[in-house]
C-alpha cells in the first residue's frame, strides 16, 4: 500500500498536505497525532471514502474503490456501526461470516470471537442494549470474523478498558498480522500501539512529522505546545490549538528513531 503526496482539503481548510506513506504486507502501522491532525481523513482516503485533491493512492494493488470487491478485501472499523434491529450479537457475527463464504484467509470463528472479546454473557443481547465499550468490542470482533487483507481501524481503543486493549493488540500482532494481514490504525494510545508492535507515523498539521518506532514515551504528555503553522489557509483560531506533536518533538520530550520501518518486523516477531 503506497500513498504519494496526497492533499485533502475541506473547502479552503487543508487537512492533509503532501503526505507519503508506504505500508508493507503484514505490517501494522499506527498513525498518531493530536485531534484534527488528519488521521481519520487519511484512513478515509485509504478506504476510498475520500478522494484526494492531489497525489496518488494504491491500496492492494490499485486505487481504493467503494465497491463489494474492495470491501471483501478491506475491513474498516470507524465509528460504532448501526446494527440491524432484531439480530443478536451472535447472529450479527454469524451474518458477517455468512456473507464472506467461503472463508479463505485468517479469521476467528464466532464462538472464539465471543469468548476472546468478552461477550459470552451478552451473546443473546441486541447490540443496542450493550454498553459503548461492549459495542466497540463487537465492532472489532465483526471485523475479525471475516477474512481480509487490510484492516483499517480508527481509534480502536476508544471505550475499551486498559486490559482489553492489550488483548486486542496481541490479537492484531500474533493473529491478524502474523497471517499476512496489514493493519493501519489511527490511535491516541501509544501503549496500545507499542503492544501491537506497530510502526508509528506521526501526523502534525496534516503532514507526516515523523515516522519510526516509539522507544520511550513520557507518562504525562503536553498537549498544546505552540508551534508555527505550516498549513496554508488555516484560521487563526485553529493555529492556536492542536499543534502538540510538533511542539513535543521540537522540545525533545520524546526519543525517536526516525525512518526505522525495518525494525517494526523485528519487534513484532519478538513480541
Amino acid at each position: 500500500m503506497t500513498v504519494r503526496g496526497i492533499r485533502v482539503a475541506y473547502g479552503k481548510f487543508v487537512v492533509l498536505e503532501d503526505v507519503d506513506l508506504a505500508v508493507a504486507e503484514g505490517e501494522i502501522v499506527a498513525v498518531t497525532g493530536v485531534n484534527g491532525a488528519g488521521k481519520s481523513t487519511l484512513l478515509r482516503c485509504l478506504a476510498g471514502l475520500r478522494r484526494p485533491a492531489a497525489g496518488s493512492l494504491s491500496v492492494l494493488g490499485g486505487p481504493p474503490r467503494d465497491d463489494a470487491g474492495f470491501w471483501r478485501e478491506v475491513a474498516l472499523v470507524t465509528d460504532l456501526p448501526t446494527w440491524y434491529p432484531g439480530l443478536t450479537v451472535r447472529e450479527h457475527l454469524e451474518l458477517v461470516r455468512l456473507t464472506h463464504q467461503p472463508l479463505t484467509g485468517w479469521c476467528l470463528p464466532t464462538a472464539e470471537l465471543i469468548e476472546v472479546f468478552g461477550l459470552p454473557s451478552r451473546a443473546d443481547a441486541m447490540p443496542m442494549n450493550l454498553s459503548s465499550g461492549q459495542r466497540q468490542r463487537l465492532s472489532l470482533a465483526a471485523a475479525l470474523a471475516r477474512p481480509s487483507r487490510l484492516l483499517l481501524l480508527d481509534e480502536p481503543e476508544q471505550s475499551l478498558d486498559a486490559g482489553f486493549r492489550q488483548v486486542l493488540a496481541g490479537l492484531l500482532r500474533t493473529g491478524y498480522a502474523a497471517h499476512g494481514g496489514t493493519v493501519v490504525m489511527a490511535t491516541h494510545d501509544f501503549d496500545f500501539a507499542e503492544a501491537a508492535g506497530a510502526r508509528q507515523v506521526v501526523l502534525s498539521d496534516g503532514q507526516v512529522a515523523a515516522a519510526g518506532q516509539v522507544l520511550w514515551l513520557p507518562s504525562a504528555l503536553p498537549t498544546a505546545l505552540p508551534s508555527a503553522s505550516r498549513r496554508r489557509g488555516r484560521s487563526s483560531a485553529s493555529a492556536d490549538v492542536g499543534t502538540g506533536t510538533t511542539g513535543i518533538l521540537s522540545a525533545s520530550a520524546w526519543c525517536w528513531r526516525a525512518s526505522c520501518s525495518g525494525t517494526s518486523s523485528t519487534r513484532r516477531s519478538a513480541g
Binding site: 465497491d67 470491501w71 472499523v77 470507524t78 434491529p85 454469524e94 442494549n129
Partner: protein, 487 residues
C-alpha cells in the same frame, strides 16, 4: 373531490334516515371514529404522554422546584389537546350516526352536537389521563397500548362484519333508533364524570411523578415531535423499532441451512436480505397488526358514500400497501442511514437491492390481496378478481417502499429551493415522488378501484406495470449506485 370527502359525513348530520345511507354506513363510520380514538391514545402515549420540553426536562425537573408546579403546564396542555381532539371525534361520530337517530339531531342539532362533543371530549380525556396515570408504572404502558390495539381491532372487525352480515348490524341499528337526547345526555355526563375523576387522580399524582420517567419520556417526545414535524417517517419508525427491542434478550438461532447451499455469488445478498425476514419472524404482533389493518379499506368503503368512497378506498389501499412494504425494509433503512456495517459485509450492491426487494413485494402483495378480498366480501367492490389484482399490484407498491427506505435522512436545516410559495425543502419533493412511484406502480389497480370494476385486462395490465415499475426502479438504483461509486 375534497368537498365530497368532507361533505359525506357532515351532510348526514341533519339528514333523515331516507337520505340514501344505510345503518351499515353509520356503524362503519363510528367504528372508524372509535379506531381513531384508540390510535390517538397510542400516539399520545408515544409522546410521553406527560412530557416537558427538552430544556425544561434538563433544567427544571432536577431542581428543588415543586414537581407539580413544573408539570402543571404540560399536563394542562395535554388535557386541552385531548379534550379538543375528543370533541372533534364526538362530533364526527354524531355525523356518522346522524340519519339513524329518529329522535335526534335533525330536530335539535345544537343540543345533540354539544352533547356529542362533551361526550367525546370526556371519554378521550379520561383515556389520555389514564395513560398519564399508567406512565410511571412498569408494564402498564404496554398493557394500555395492547388494550387500545385490541379495541381498535375489535371495532374495525365488527364494523366490517356488520357490513357483511345484517344479524350483527341489526342490534346496533335498533339502539340508534331508540337513542334520545336524554340517553345521549346521560352518556356525555358519565364521560365527563370519569374524566373529572381521572383529572383529580392525576393532580394528586403530579407531586410524586418520577423525574427519571419524565426526563426519559421528554427526550423521546422531543425527538418524535421533531421527526413528526418534518414528516420524517424513517426516523419515527426507527424510534419505534428501537423502543421495541430495548432491553430484549433473544435466543440466538443459526442462519437457515439453505443460505449455505445457495450459489456463491447469490449467497451474500440473500443472507443480507434474510435479516428482515428474521426480524419480522420475531415480531408476530407487528404481523398481526399489519394483517388486521387490511380491514381499514373495507371499513372506509362501508363508511363513505359517493365519489368520496372510491377515492378514500383507493388512497387507503395505496398508503396501506406502501406501509406494508416498508415493514420489510428495516435493515435497508439502517444501511441508508449508516453503511458501516454494510461495508463490513462486503455484499454486491446490485444483488443486495434485488434480494431485498422480495420481502417488501410479498408483504405489499399479501396486504393488498387481503384488503381487496375484504372489500369484495363486504360488497364495496363487486367481483372475485380483486384479490388477484392485489397480488399483482404488490411489487408496484414495493418500489415506493424501497425508494422511501433508501431515501436519505431529512436535513432539518436545509434551505430548500426557491418556489412560488417560498423556499421548498427538497425532502418534500423526494418523498412525494416516492408516493408517485407507488401510484404509478399500482395505477391499473387504483383505476379499477375508482371505476369499481375489474376484468382480465386489469390483471394483465397490473402485472406488466408492476414488473416495469419495480424492475425499472431496481435497474435505475443499481446503475446510479455504480455511477456514484465511480465518481
Amino acid at each position: 373531490m375534497l368537498g365530497d370527502f368532507l361533505d359525506a359525513p357532515f351532510s348526514r348530520l341533519t339528514a333523515g334516515a331516507d337520505a340514501g345511507s344505510t345503518p351499515v354506513q353509520a356503524e362503519a363510520g363510528i367504528a372508524l371514529v372509535l379506531g381513531a380514538a384508540a390510535g390517538l391514545v397510542v400516539l399520545v402515549q408515544a409522546l410521553g404522554p406527560l412530557a416537558l420540553s427538552p430544556a425544561d426536562a434538563s433544567w427544571l425537573l432536577l431542581t428543588p422546584l415543586a414537581r407539580r408546579d413544573v408539570l402543571r403546564r404540560p399536563a394542562a396542555a395535554l388535557a386541552g389537546v385531548a379534550a379538543l381532539a375528543g370533541g372533534l371525534l364526538g362530533a364526527l361520530a354524531l355525523a356518522m350516526a346522524g340519519p339513524f337517530l329518529p329522535h335526534g339531531p335533525h330536530r335539535a342539532v345544537g343540543a345533540w352536537l354539544a352533547l356529542s362533543i362533551a361526550g367525546g371530549a370526556g371519554f378521550v380525556l379520561a383515556a389520555v389521563l389514564l395513560a398519564v396515570l399508567a406512565q410511571p408504572i412498569p408494564g402498564a404502558r404496554a398493557r394500555l397500548r395492547l388494550a387500545c390495539a385490541v379495541l381498535a381491532a375489535v371495532v374495525v372487525a365488527a364494523g366490517v362484519a356488520g357490513a357483511r352480515w345484517n344479524a350483527l348490524s341489526r342490534p346496533v341499528a335498533s339502539w340508534f333508533a331508540h337513542a334520545s337526547t336524554g340517553v345521549l345526555g346521560g352518556v356525555a355526563a358519565c364521560a365527563v364524570a370519569i374524566a373529572c375523576v381521572a383529572a383529580v387522580l392525576v393532580w394528586r399524582m403530579l407531586p410524586r411523578f418520577p423525574a427519571s420517567i419524565a426526563v426519559t419520556d421528554s427526550a423521546r417526545a422531543g425527538t418524535t415531535l421533531m421527526a413528526a414535524a418534518f414528516l420524517n417517517v424513517p426516523l419515527l419508525t426507527w424510534i419505534a423499532e428501537d423502543s421495541y427491542w430495548h432491553g430484549r434478550l433473544l435466543p440466538s438461532r443459526p442462519w437457515p441451512r439453505f443460505l449455505l447451499s445457495l450459489p456463491g455469488r447469490q449467497q451474500p445478498a440473500v443472507a443480507l436480505a434474510w435479516v428482515d425476514w428474521r426480524r419480522l419472524g420475531r415480531r408476530p404482533a407487528l404481523m398481526i397488526t399489519l394483517a388486521a389493518s387490511a380491514l381499514i379499506p373495507a371499513l372506509a368503503g362501508a363508511a363513505f358514500t359517493g365519489r368520496a368512497r372510491s377515492f378514500t378506498v383507493a388512497a387507503v389501499l395505496l398508503a396501506g400497501a406502501i406501509a406494508a412494504g416498508l415493514q420489510g425494509t428495516a435493515a435497508t433503512r439502517r444501511d441508508t442511514s449508516d453503511n458501516t456495517l454494510y461495508r463490513l459485509l462486503g455484499v454486491n450492491a446490485g444483488k443486495a437491492v434485488a434480494a431485498r426487494a422480495v420481502l417488501p413485494a410479498l408483504l405489499s402483495a399479501a396486504w393488498l390481496m387481503i384488503a381487496l378480498a375484504l372489500l369484495a366480501a363486504v360488497g364495496v367492490l363487486p367481483g372475485w378478481l380483486w384479490p388477484l389484482l392485489g397480488l399483482t399490484a404488490g411489487p408496484g407498491a414495493a418500489a415506493a417502499a424501497l425508494r422511501i427506505a433508501r431515501t436519505g435522512a431529512i436535513d432539518a436545516g436545509e434551505q430548500g429551493v426557491d418556489s412560488p410559495m417560498g423556499p421548498m425543502p427538497t425532502w418534500i419533493g423526494t418523498r412525494a415522488f416516492s408516493v408517485l412511484v407507488g401510484a404509478a406502480g399500482c395505477y391499473p389497480m387504483l383505476k379499477a378501484v375508482l371505476a369499481g370494476r375489474v376484468h382480465g385486462g386489469s390483471l394483465a395490465g397490473q402485472l406488466v406495470v408492476s414488473a416495469v415499475v419495480l424492475g425499472g426502479y431496481l435497474m435505475l438504483t443499481i446503475r446510479m449506485t455504480a455511477v456514484r461509486r465511480q465518481q
